[in-house]
Amino acid sequence: MTDDTLLSARGLNLRFGNIPALIDVDADLWPGEVLAIVGESGSGKTTLLQVLSGRVAPQSGVVWYRDPEGRLLDVHAMPAPALRALHRSDWGFVHQNPRDNLRMGVTAGGNVGERLMAQGSRHYGRIRAEAIDWLKQVEIDGARVDDLPRVFSGGMLQRLQIARTLVTHPRLVFMDEPTGGLDVSVQARLLDLIRSLVRRLNIAAVLVTHDLAVARLLANRIMVMQRGVVVEAGLTDQVLDDPQHAYTQLLVSSVLSA
């Protein structure tokens, strides 16, 4: 790892019974960079995301995070309250199912404002104004600020989740299949949104997806996983256009082109 590495993992191993989920996985992420983790279901990509973000502990290995003051934090050795504070401030997590992150009984504006309040904001008018601003940034009509998420479509829920995640200006966002389960037209809109927000706010992101086209459009670098092992990693377009490993060649050649 280098002086400016944001997140760095070394030697991650994790087994679920007899099933290896991670075998000797290393990963690095630098500020402002988008790293895609791709592979089939069961390849270990979501497990890797969970371990990188401190939500699941590895059986061996270490994950380092460099905080804004330049200190290296051992993510899995941190006290639980410190890790929770990190998730509320520097980090964000975008789930495949927005209902896992949103509070369905709280208004759209409340869902966004809550993260600000958790960071210490207390001025109601300012929180509401910022919530409305973020709804607009994710292309939700500001007039919907008092609506409950349950009346939103799937695509709107996903955008609301992104607003809730980004309102606190995280430096690092973990995304688990953010466009999975959405209509392709909604996917395209969401991809554009994620791409422009990540660039404009200079956010680093780790993106788990099974969709190689999503990885190509969003990620600078890519890691290909198979049965818990990173079989190939590198520049996204190089790995997808000139895959070296048999499994990557299989993945790339299996994609339907429209």
Partner: protein, 230 residues
């Protein structure tokens, strides 16, 4: 003149695991040097490896062996061994590439695609420059705000050209930049390439159109089919 690109002893095979591990040799011991202000046209029969060479120069294909050094911020850097994020940085500031096909996020407008590729200017300046480049390439203003997925092949290629040229990269890699253009647009692309050379850009490209090639290329580099090489 300043040496901008140095390829030495570059070789490249494709190993196809899904086809029983067959190995297809493409490039063998390529040596190519390109200086600032110079344009080299890659020549050779179809399938000889011209596109493979061009893609290798961009780091889109991984070199098998040999080195590809590009002048980046004053130093020669081997992109075959540079870490991926370094290559990303080199592409942002030094290596421009115009491919034959436009590949973009579906919903983004033509003007945003072009303006996004601009460097060292404000968003407003980038949009103004993108707009004037699109106008120059005869993309009517009413199309600027539309995503190019429904555009014709020639229009998409011109979006791609505007995007490739707006960054004024010191090295330009051009893969058949005039393949689907009419004569008027072809002449504009010739003018753009000549202007790039005049500002000191090193240009490497594949130009099947001999009129284009004669107008811009200082010399040809013959890519030999692998079985004929060595």
């Amino acid at each position: 003149m300043t040496r901008m690109l140095e390829v030495e002893n570059l070789s490249k095979d494709f190993l196809l695991h899904l086809q029983g591990g067959v190995r297809i040799p493409v490039l063998h011991a390529v040596d190519l040097h390109v200086s600032a202000g110079e344009c080299v046209a890659l020549a050779g029969a179809s399938g000889a490896g011209k596109s493979t060479l061009l893609r290798s120069l961009y780091g889109n294909y991984r070199a098998g062996s040999g080195v590809i050094r590009v002048r980046h911020d004053g130093a020669m850097i081997d992109i075959t061994t540079a870490p991926p994020r370094r290559v990303v940085e080199i592409r942002e500031r030094t290596l421009g590439y115009v491919s034959q096909f436009l590949r973009v996020v579906p919903r983004v407008s033509a003007i945003d695609i072009v303006a996004d590729a601009a460097r060292d200017m404000t968003t407003e300046q980038a949009h103004n420059l993108a707009s004037s480049m699109l106008n120059r390439l005869h993309i009517p203003a009413r199309l600027h705000t539309l995503p190019p997925s429904t555009f014709s092949g020639g229009e998409q290629q011109r979006i791609n050209l505007a995007r490739g040229f707006i960054g004024s990269h010191p090295i330009l890699l051009l893969d058949e930049p005039t393949a689907s253009l009419d004569n008027a647009n072809r002449d504009i692309v010739i003018a753009m390439i000549l202007e790039a050379k005049a500002r000191g850009a090193a240009v490497v490209g594949i130009f099947h159109d001999t009129h284009v090639r004669d107008a811009i290329a200082d010399r040809l580099y013959h890519v030999l089919p692998r079985q004929d090489a060595a």
